[in-house]
C-alpha cells in the first residue's frame, strides 16, 4: 500500500483549504477565527459529553443516557451531512485521484480518510469521547473499550452518511427521484410525531423495539461503553459489522453509478412555456426571464424543494399552530406562508449567479445591461415563488377551521407576499456580495456562502416564529379584525425589494470582475 502518497493526498486537502484562505485579504484571519471557534465549540461539546456521562452515572441510567446521546449524535451527524454537506465537500472525486499511482482500494481509502478528517467529524468524535470520559470518571467502565467503540462508531457514522448521500445523489438522477426523496423527507419528519403518541398508547411495544435497536451502531456502542466483558465485545462486533456493511454499500454505489437511459433525439420545440411566461415581463426582460425560468426548473433539487414546500409548509403550520396545546392553524399558517413563498427558489435567490458557472461571462457579452440579468433572475424567482401561494391558500381554506374567512385569506396572502419580497430583496444583496460557486447538479448539501445561509435560515426562522412573537407582544396585530395591519409591512417589503433591485442592478456591472473570478473558481 502506498501509504506515503495517501498521506500526501490527505495533507493536500488541508493545503487546498489553506490556499483558499490566502487568495483573499482577511481570509487568513477568518480562517484562524474559524478554527479557534472550532476548538472552543469542540471543548464545549467534549465537556457536554463528559457532563452527560457523569450525570448519567449519578442518575444510575448510564445505559439509557449513553444510548440516547449516541443515537441523537449519530442521526444528527447523518442529517447535517446530508442537508448541509458538512464533511463531504472536500472529498476528491474518483476521477481526480485516478491521475495518481493508486489502486482502486487505495483511492477509496484516501477519500474515506480525507472525508473523515474534516473538522465536522472531529466535533462528533469529541462529543462521543466526552461521553466515554464522563462515564469512565464516574464509574468503572473501560476507557480502552470505550475508545475502540467510539472510533468504530465514528467510522460507521461517516460511512453511512457517505453511502446514504451517494444513494440520494443516485436517486436524484432518476425521474421519480425528487418525488421519492420528498416522500422520504416527509416520512422522516413525521415519524416522531406519529410514533410518540402510538408508543404512549401501547407502552408494551417499547420493549421489543428497544431490543431490536440493540443491534444498531449507537446502541451497540452504548453497550460497549457502559458494559464490560462479553457484552462490551458484542457491542463492538455489532458496530464493526455495520461498518463493513456501510463501507460495502458505499463501494457498491461507487462501482455501479446510475446509468441514465440514452435519451432519444427529439424534434426541436421552439415555443416553450418558459418563453411564454418570460414574455409577460416585456421585451426588455422577456428572453432573459424565460432563460432563468428554464434554468431554475431544469434543476432537480429545485423541483424537489419546490414540490416539497407545500406539504412542508402545511406540516409546519400544523405543528406551530398546535404548539403548547393550542389549536391555531391560522397562527401557524401566517408563519408558514412566507416560507412556502421562497422555499423552492431559496438556493437560487440568494446566489443567483452561483450556478451558471462560465455562463456568467455571457451576460457581459450580450447587448444588454448586465443589471437586466439580475433583474430577470429576480423576477423569475418571484414568479415561481408566487406560483405556490394560491395552492397554499387553497389548502388553508380546505383544511383549516374558519379557513374561508376572507380577512384571514388577505392576511395570509399579505404575509406570504411580504416574505417573498423581503427574501428576494435580501437575495439581491447576497447575490452581489455573498456569491459562491455552487454545484448546479448536487441533490443535497449546502453550497451557499455565510451571507446566503444567514439570509436563508434567518428568513425561514423569522418567518415561522414572528407571528408567535407578535401574539405575545402585540396580539392585536395578528387578529383578523385588524387584517389591514398586514399592509404596511407588505408595502415596506415591496419598497425594500424595488430599492434593492434599483441599487443592486447597476452593481452587477461594477462587481463583474470579482464575481467572474469567484464564479469561475479563480479566487
Amino acid at each position: 500500500m502506498n501509504t506515503t502518497l495517501i498521506g500526501h493526498l490527505i495533507g493536500l486537502r488541508y493545503k487546498l483549504m489553506w490556499a483558499k484562505t490566502r487568495s483573499r485579504n482577511g481570509k487568513i484571519a477568518l480562517f484562524f477565527t474559524g478554527y479557534i471557534l472550532l476548538i472552543l465549540v469542540g471543548a464545549l461539546l467534549g465537556a457536554g459529553g463528559i457532563g452527560a456521562g457523569m450525570a448519567a452515572v449519578k442518575m444510575g441510567k448510564q445505559g439509557m443516557v449513553a444510548k440516547a446521546v449516541l443515537t441523537s449524535i449519530y442521526g444528527g451527524a447523518v442529517m447535517w451531512t446530508l442537508l448541509l454537506g458538512f464533511g463531504m465537500n472536500a472529498v476528491f472525486s474518483e476521477t481526480e485521484l485516478r491521475r495518481y499511482p493508486l489502486v482502486a482500494r487505495e483511492r477509496r481509502l484516501v477519500r474515506f480518510f480525507i472525508g473523515i478528517v474534516d473538522p465536522f467529524w472531529l466535533l462528533i468524535l469529541l462529543v462521543d469521547l466526552g461521553l466515554v470520559v464522563g462515564l469512565y470518571l464516574m464509574s468503572d467502565t473501560s476507557v480502552g473499550l470505550g475508545l475502540i467503540a467510539v472510533l468504530l462508531l465514528l467510522a460507521s457514522n461517516y460511512a453511512v452518511a457517505r453511502a446514504v448521500g451517494m444513494y440520494i445523489d443516485r436517486l436524484a438522477e432518476t425521474k421519480a427521484g425528487p418525488s421519492i426523496l420528498l416522500l422520504l423527507v416527509m416520512a422522516i419528519a413525521l415519524l416522531p410525531q406519529l410514533a410518540m403518541p402510538a408508543l404512549k398508547r401501547n407502552p408494551e411495544a417499547l420493549a421489543p423495539i428497544l431490543a431490536g435497536l440493540r443491534y444498531t451502531p449507537p446502541f451497540a456502542a452504548a453497550d460497549a461503553i457502559t458494559s464490560s466483558g462479553a457484552a462490551a465485545w458484542q457491542g463492538i462486533l455489532v458496530i464493526a459489522c455495520w461498518l463493513v456493511v456501510f463501507l460495502a454499500a458505499a463501494a457498491w454505489l461507487e462501482k455501479h453509478p446510475y446509468q441514465q437511459r440514452v435519451a432519444q433525439s427529439k424534434a426541436i420545440g421552439w415555443n416553450s412555456p418558459y418563453e411564454r411566461a418570460g414574455a409577460l415581463f416585456g421585451p426588455a426582460y422577456g428572453v432573459l426571464v424565460g432563460n432563468w425560468l428554464r434554468y431554475y426548473t431544469r434543476n432537480q433539487r429545485f423541483r424537489a424543494m419546490y414540490f416539497l414546500s407545500l406539504p412542508l409548509a402545511a406540516f409546519l403550520a400544523y405543528r406551530i399552530g398546535s404548539m403548547r396545546g393550542q389549536n391555531e392553524w391560522f397562527l401557524g399558517a401566517l408563519g408558514a406562508m412566507p416560507v412556502l413563498a421562497y422555499m423552492g427558489t431559496s438556493r437560487f435567490t440568494v446566489n443567483q449567479f452561483g450556478y451558471v458557472g462560465g455562463g456568467f461571462r455571457r451576460f457581459f457579452l450580450l447587448p444588454t445591461d448586465p443589471g437586466a440579468c439580475l433583474r430577470a433572475a429576480s423576477y423569475a424567482s418571484l414568479l415561481l415563488g408566487a406560483g405556490m401561494l394560491p395552492l397554499g391558500l387553497i389548502v388553508f381554506i380546505a383544511v383549516a377551521p374558519d379557513g374561508a374567512d376572507p380577512r384571514k385569506i388577505v392576511m395570509l396572502a399579505g404575509s406570504a407576499v411580504t416574505g417573498l419580497f423581503l427574501f428576494n430583496g435580501l437575495g439581491i444583496w447576497s447575490t452581489l456580495f455573498g456569491a459562491r460557486k455552487g454545484n448546479y447538479v448536487s441533490a443535497l448539501g449546502n453550497d451557499l456562502s455565510l451571507a446566503g445561509n444567514v439570509i436563508l435560515i434567518g428568513c425561514m426562522l423569522g418567518g415561522l416564529f414572528l407571528p408567535m412573537v407578535l401574539k405575545k407582544l402585540a396580539p392585536a396585530l395578528i387578529s383578523p379584525e385588524n387584517w389591514w395591519a398586514v399592509l404596511p409591512p407588505l408595502a415596506a417589503a415591496m419598497t425594500f425589494y424595488f430599492v434593492s433591485l434599483n441599487l443592486g442592478a447597476p452593481m452587477v456591472h461594477r462587481r463583474r470582475e470579482p464575481l467572474m473570478a469567484l464564479l469561475e473558481g479563480k479566487s
Partner: protein, 259 residues
C-alpha cells in the same frame, strides 16, 4: 482622427489587477475586412486584451474604438455588431444546444423566424444535431462548436475568437476556416488568438505578437508567408510564423537530462 477603414483601434491600453500589470500600453490598429492574428505566449495578456475589447473587463487606462465608435463595457448598441467566442466559452450548461443558441439569437434582437432558421442551419452545419444531450454532456470540441455558433449567429461585423480551433476536429476546423474566410470577404473583421501558428499563418493577413505583460513586440503583414515569401525582422528572414514568433518571444531551451 480615426481612419474609417479601422475596425478596431486600441490606444495605450493598460489593464492592471492591483499591482500586477496584465496589459501595458498596448496600441493596435486592425483594418476592416481582414483576419487579424493576436499572438503571444501563455499569460502574455491576450485574453485580458480580448476581455477589454469585448466588455468583460474594464481597462485601467487607454481607449478602445470599434467600428469607429468608442467602446465601453456598457456599449450595448455596439455589442450587437460584435460576436465573441470567449476563452471559457460562456455556455449555460443545463441548456440544450438549440435552446442556448435561440437564447443568444433573441438577445441579439433576431426575430422568431430568423432565430429558428439560423439555429437549425448552424446545428446542422456544425453537426450538433444530437438533441438528447444538454451542453454539460457535450465534449470539449462540441462545446466549442456551440460557442462558435453563438458568436456568429447574428452575423456580426467584428468577430472576436479566443483560441477557437483548439480541441475541434479537423473537419470542424476546416468548416470554421471556410466560414471565416467568407466572413472577411464580405468586409467583416476577425480578431483571433490562437497557439496554432500554422493555422494563423494560412488564415490571417496581419498579426500582432505580444509578450508578458501585454507588451506589443511586433505587428505586421504576413500575407507573404501564405505564398513562398519571407518576412524580415532584425536583419533575419523568416519563411514561417513559428520561428518568427520564437525569435520575438524568446526561444526557450532547457536540457532535462532525466527526460
Amino acid at each position: 482622427m480615426n481612419s474609417p477603414t479601422d475596425a478596431i483601434r486600441i490606444t495605450k491600453l493598460v489593464k492592471q489587477y492591483g499591482n500586477v500589470t496584465a496589459v501595458d500600453n498596448l496600441s493596435l490598429r486592425v483594418p476592416a475586412g481582414i483576419m487579424y492574428g493576436f499572438l503571444g505566449p501563455n499569460g502574455s495578456g491576450k485574453s485580458t486584451t480580448i476581455g477589454c475589447l469585448t466588455g468583460l473587463l474594464d481597462p485601467t487606462a487607454g481607449e478602445i474604438e470599434i467600428l469607429g465608435e468608442r467602446f465601453g463595457s456598457e456599449a450595448s448598441a455596439l455589442k450587437r455588431r460584435m460576436g465573441v467566442m470567449p476563452e471559457t466559452l460562456g455556455l449555460f450548461e443545463p441548456l440544450y444546444a438549440h435552446e442556448f443558441l435561440a437564447f443568444v439569437a433573441r438577445m441579439y434582437g433576431l426575430d422568431e423566424a430568423t432565430t429558428q432558421s439560423r439555429v437549425s442551419e448552424l446545428l446542422a452545419a456544425l453537426e450538433l444535431t444530437d438533441t438528447s444531450k444538454p451542453l454539460s454532456a457535450y465534449s470539449t470540441g462540441m462545446r466549442k462548436r456551440v460557442a462558435f455558433a453563438a458568436a456568429v449567429i447574428h452575423s456580426p461585423e467584428v468577430l472576436f475568437l479566443d483560441e477557437p480551433f483548439e480541441s475541434i476536429d479537423p473537419g470542424g476546423v476546416a468548416l470554421m476556416k471556410q466560414w471565416l474566410r467568407r466572413f472577411t470577404e464580405h468586409g467583416r473583421t476577425v480578431f483571433i488568438t490562437s497557439h496554432v501558428l500554422d493555422t494563423v499563418e494560412r488564415l490571417c493577413q496581419q498579426v500582432a505578437v505580444i509578450t508578458k505583460p501585454g507588451k506589443l513586440v511586433w505587428e505586421g503583414d504576413i500575407t507573404a508567408l501564405a505564398g513562398d515569401g519571407v518576412i524580415e525582422y532584425a536583419g533575419q528572414k523568416f519563411d514561417a510564423l513559428e520561428p518568427l514568433f520564437l525569435q520575438l518571444t524568446g526561444e526557450k531551451s532547457a536540457d532535462l537530462k532525466w527526460l
